[in-house]
Symmetry: C2
Subunit: 117 residues, 2 copies
DNA sequence: GGGTTATTCAAGTTGACGCTTGATAAAGCA
DNA sequence: TGCTTTATCAAGCGTCAACTTGAATAACCC
């Protein structure tokens, strides 16, 4: 039986997939103000609580939220360090792009200055 | 005929969905080093060029890349300003969370200092 | 124990993804 | 004009996401 391994790619897949739905982004935004139960989270939406429960499962799978137990509730709380992973990936990509643009600017400046060749 | 409107939610849906696949993230990383054609982008992968073409369509839909025409090729180039939208959303969420943590810290500090009530 | 409350499980529908293969279009080259 | 290259279109297949409704679980309250 293979060891349950999770690659960096799979983690980012789950993370960005979790962010790719407006209901889930809304839930994250609301959790950034503090913990909430499934019932509380489901309250504002037209959909069933079961549907919200499934959204929460996808958020939990991504690591963006974790859950506790309190009486008969399973309160959700944001795990904001995971959001940093998403920003890291994006910034890394943008960094490479910036370096390329810097090189282009340097060459353009050299061309304008020298004008020779 | 309704005007073709795109909400902020829909834009973020398309953006994060586009980022939610490792092949597409890899394509973005490679495009951050410069333009490339579909054939060039498809080269390293085991999948068909048609499959890569569909990944590119999803990236284009999100606004992350744009395309030109040159001879019989349709070169792809990164549109990095769109990546900033993703970071903006995440940072906004984290900002709210930070404020909440600051308030908690303030209250904890006050409790430790005063110790009264 | 019996009834409410909070949540999940299970099954089914609809639609979108991720891929395939085969056909088609359009530009370049002999 | 034909042959090749580049890319898309189109149909089909399997999986998964996003919901639904109904049933089950589990903790609390009388």
């Amino acid at each position: 039986m293979p060891v349950e391994t999770t690659t960096e790619d799979q983690r980012l897949d789950a993370l960005f997939t979790a962010l790719g739905d407006s209901t889930r982004r809304d839930i994250i935004a609301r959790l950034s103000a503090g913990e909430a139960t499934v019932k509380e989270l489901a309250e504002p939406y037209a959909m069933s609580m079961q549907a919200v429960s499934q959204h929460i499962r996808i958020l939990e799978r991504s690591g963006l939220i974790s859950r506790g137990r309190h009486r008969q509730t399973r309160p959700c709380r944001l795990e904001p360090t995971v959001l940093a992973d998403a920003v890291s990936w994006i910034e890394e990509s943008r960094r490479t792009w910036s370096e390329r643009m810097d090189r282009l600017e340097t060459r353009l400046a050299a061309l304008q200055k020298g004008e020779s060749q």
